[in-house]
């Protein structure tokens, strides 16, 4: 296994599972399961035991490995120099399990959906652009940017709502961009994080070839997970594009005072998506947009930015739900964090977070108290147009 020369270096000291003030456990799977085996240190020791033949690839082992949300909180908080590789190590171990053919059924089904239909929803490819009906967004045709929507934005009801809002806002703001519609296929970020390296490579190569054929140089992503794949993994496969998240586009429009807003009186708290924040290092753009809207009072949750608590959807868990369920599931915990601020809107910048958290408000029975809104939606509700 890749990184097998590192796994023995974990001291299992546990710094990885905390926030940086040590007030809270910030590893979502440890926070839910509470066995040390579900913390990063536990995974490291078990991967080593498995490589050494001391334990087998059992259902429990799979649950332990695949419940990692790849949120990167351990990378942020581990005390050791190999910290940058922690998530990569867990992904590599998943790869080994995938190669051995013994993986949780939900993971297998996810791969099947992607390899057969090009999306995990098992929906026809021609429905992929359906979300755009009624909007003025065009199909990509030499525009400055490709607006890459991703599977969740294309097929999930909340994702589609977000995609519509963001595309409307950006188009209104005069950004030249087009979509791929039915030609779009999965970016592969979750495929990779779930350990299907081969499938990821073929998806990435397909996307890269298509982007190149269409002359695409710049990409705006709806989903931070796609942003991560395009920025971090595609270049190694020859896909060098200028990639940016839509909140970054909006933030620069705010900064250059190119857009203006009507008052939007609300108490808002913002949930950092792990893939926008910890993985891609963007904490400011979403906040600068919210802060620029008159009437919004932005209140931070205690666990924010580098210490943000994952909604539990990362690392493929959005689709496999291995980490979900019960009152300690990360999405429900996160909703409680948001409620504790007294905010009436929990703003997000990721369609996966939006879906996870909106479902959690329902399970918690607080959907009347706390609205989940993507920043794109908030902006679309108060944007008055371009400044002269």
């Amino acid at each position: 296994m890749k990184y097998s020369d590192i796994v023995h270096r974990c001291f299992r000291c546990g710094y990885c599972k905390f926030t940086d003030d040590y007030q809270e456990f910030n590893c979502p799977s440890y926070r839910k399961f509470r066995f040390d085996t579900f913390a990063p240190g536990g995974r490291m020791w078990l991967i080593r035991a498995w490589l050494n033949g001391e334990i087998e690839n059992s259902e429990r082992f799979q649950e332990i490995l695949f419940s990692c949300a790849t949120c990167g909180s351990c990378v942020e908080h581990c005390a050791f120099t190999f910290r940058d590789d922690l998530v990569n190590i867990f992904i590599s171990a998943r790869e080994e399990l995938v190669n051995s053919g013994k993986i949780p059924p939900a993971v297998r089904d996810y791969f099947k959906g992607i390899s057969i239909q090009g999306n995990p929803y098992r929906q026809p490819a021609k429905e992929r652009g359906a979300w755009a009906k009624g909007t003025s967004i065009e199909c990509y045709n030499g525009h400055e940017y490709l607006f890459y929507v991703g599977c969740v934005g294309s097929y999930d009801e909340i994702g589609m709502r977000t995609a519509r809002a963001v595309s409307t806002v950006l188009t209104k703001a005069g950004i030249s961009m087009g979509i791929l519609g039915e030609k779009e296929t999965c970016d592969g970020n979750e495929v990779k994080s779930l350990g299907e390296a081969g499938l990821f490579q073929s998806l990435a190569e397909r996307n890269i070839n298509m982007f190149k054929e269409l002359g695409i140089k710049k990409i705006i992503t709806l989903d931070p997970h796609a942003l991560n794949a395009f920025k971090k993994d595609y270049p190694d496969l020859g896909g060098e594009f200028e990639v940016i998240h839509y909140t970054q586009v909006l933030a620069s429009l705010v900064e250059s005072e190119s857009i203006k807003f009507n008052p939007f009186p609300a108490k808002v708290t913002y949930h950092d998506s792990c893939y926008l924040g910890r993985h891609c290092g963007e904490y400011d753009a979403p906040r600068s947009i919210l802060n620029a809207i008159p009437g919004i009072e932005l209140i931070e949750m205690e666990q924010n930015m580098e210490n943000s608590f994952c909604c539990g959807g990362g690392g493929g868990n959005f689709f496999t739900d291995i980490l979900g369920g019960g009152s300690d599931s990360p999405d429900r915990i996160r909703v409680r964090h948001a409620l504790a601020t007294g905010a009436d809107i929990l703003a997000v910048a990721c369609p996966q977070c939006a879906r996870m958290l909106e479902d959690a408000t329902k399970t918690e029975g607080v959907q009347d108290k706390l609205l989940i809104k993507d920043i794109g939606e908030i902006v679309s509700e108060c944007l008055t147009g371009l400044k002269r």
């Binding site: 001291f11 000291c13 020791w45």
Partner: protein
């Protein structure tokens, strides 16, 4: 012994009990060098009643019960020597109550030192406790259980001396309060003016009961902290240096370290002196007093203060010090362990020479640390060796070096701190037989079946 799993699940809930190979593997070992022994079950209780239920059931069935905090004491104290149930305490992590004016806090038995520290920082910035340099995940109850030491140890003694009350589940499953809280709602004293029964539990490694709540004394937190390092190249001066510094009563904490790498530290002994104050003037006054106390050494060129760079200062002032853990990666191998006897400070030169000798003999990387306990009443001297977990030969050499260090410490009057099972045996053999008999009497009376963390403090 039938249906134990189901009965445990009835007590703590299905989600919080496991007999799965992965959990038994992990909870059967710690990061130190003691051999692994797998438990049969791991449970994660959340309430006192659940712990009582577990212990009562275990008592009925004669099953061993081993409480565990973060499992970071390194000397195998949470390894279930005879299998049975490992009770991971970390779901019991609430801060139950605080009495600001009487300066004590009551925490549950699995509350981490990191969490308590964060809580005080946020809510009571004028209060602090004696935080050890163990990882933030380590628990307050376990730390006092093993007579740990922390930042205030030089002023107030062992962290267990700072306990202000206990709630314990006895081996019978009954719940018992120890100290003032036994007759009052206040947790200000673990013993006096009553007979101090905390000694029936502290230092026993869970072999006489499970701490479900601990009262911990809090102390004034000054606005400012600073650190200076006095360096000498001769270990022989250290006892006198410490005598002089402790005489001033001006310091928060005093640690000494020596290590061969990086080279700037080689052959020197670094006395790390911590200061606190509510103003720059107060800190300056304290520093000046300490500087004066060391005048003679400076004039004789036997030592001097080194300049401490901002990076080093930051790391030294951190609580807990994260780089105490990263010593485990010096050989890129994820392990370190220390034999840490409590011993008088006049033995510092011998200990440090022995450490050097053992490191050479066994070809190991080392680090010597001493933490001053009280006004120089004793010190914890850590013979620390770092090892590569995947190098079997190095593991063996480290075990031998640690064993020799322990034997040596015992021979020069040291007393083992958080001893391994083997060290406990060595101690039991050497101690006053009447003391050993008393230990046995207490253990047999409290835990006649010997189910609580068996193997620990067990004499024949």
């Amino acid at each position: 012994m039938s249906n134990i799993r189901e009965r445990l699940a009835d007590i703590v809930g299905e989600r919080f009990v496991s007999d799965k190979a992965e959990d038994l593997y992990f909870y059967g070992r710690d990061p130190g060098l003691m051999p692994a022994v797998h438990p049969d079950w791991v449970v994660l209780p959340e309430t006192v009643e659940e712990i009582q239920g577990i212990v009562k059931m275990a008592q009925m069935e004669g099953i061993p019960v081993v409480p565990m905090g973060a499992g970071m004491s390194l000397s195998g104290l949470v390894i279930p020597q005879k299998g049975g149930i490992v009770v991971d305490m970390k779901r019991m992590d609430r801060i139950v109550d605080i009495n600001e004016k009487a300066r004590y806090v009551i925490v549950e038995g699995g509350t981490s030192t990191g969490r308590l520290n964060a809580y005080l920082n946020k809510k009571y910035p004028r209060l602090r406790f004696s935080i050890p340099d163990s990882p933030a995940a380590t628990t307050v109850a376990a730390n006092v259980m093993i007579h740990g030491q922390g930042r205030l140890t030089q002023q107030y003694g062992f962290n267990s001396d700072m306990v202000s009350g206990l709630e314990v589940v006895l081996p019978s499953g009954e719940l018992c309060r120890i100290g003032s809280c036994a007759i009052s709602n206040e947790w200000f004293s673990k013993g006096a003016p009553l007979p101090d029964l905390s000694g029936l539990f502290l230092g026993w490694f869970g072999a006489t009961g499970i701490i479900t709540k601990a009262g911990i004394k809090l102390y004034p937190r000054k606005l400012l902290r600073d650190v200076e390092i006095f360096v000498t190249d001769s270990p022989d001066f250290i006892p006198e240096i410490i005598y002089e510094i402790t005489h001033t009563e001006m310091t928060e904490d005093i640690n000494i370290f020596s290590q061969p790498l990086p080279l700037i530290f080689k052959d020197n002994h670094h006395v790390v002196i911590y200061f606190t104050g509510d103003s720059e003037e107060e800190i300056e006054f304290r520093k000046k007093t300490v500087f004066h106390s060391l005048d003679l050494f400076i004039r004789n060129k036997d030592g001097g203060f080194m300049s401490v760079g901002a990076g080093m200062k930051k790391s030294l002032l951190e609580m807990p010090q994260r780089n105490a853990s990263t010593f485990a990666d010096v050989t890129k191998g994820g392990g370190f362990e220390y034999s840490g006897p409590i011993i008088t400070i006049d033995k510092y030169p011998q200990c440090t020479r022995k450490l050097d000798e053992l490191a050479h003999k066994y070809d190991l990387k080392y680090h010597g640390t001493a933490r001053i306990i009280g006004r120089g009443h004793a010190m914890m001297f850590a013979f620390s060796f770092t090892f590569n977990r995947s190098d079997a030969d190095m593991l063996d050499r480290t075990r031998k070096a640690l064993h020799e260090a322990s034997q040596y410490a015992l021979s020069i009057g040291g007393v083992f701190w958080k001893p391994t099972i083997d060290e406990q045996k060595m101690a039991l053999q050497k101690m006053d037989p009447e003391f050993a008999r008393l230990l046995k009497m207490i253990k047999t009376n409290l835990d006649p079946q010997g189910i609580m963390n068996p193997g620990n403090w067990e004499s024949k």
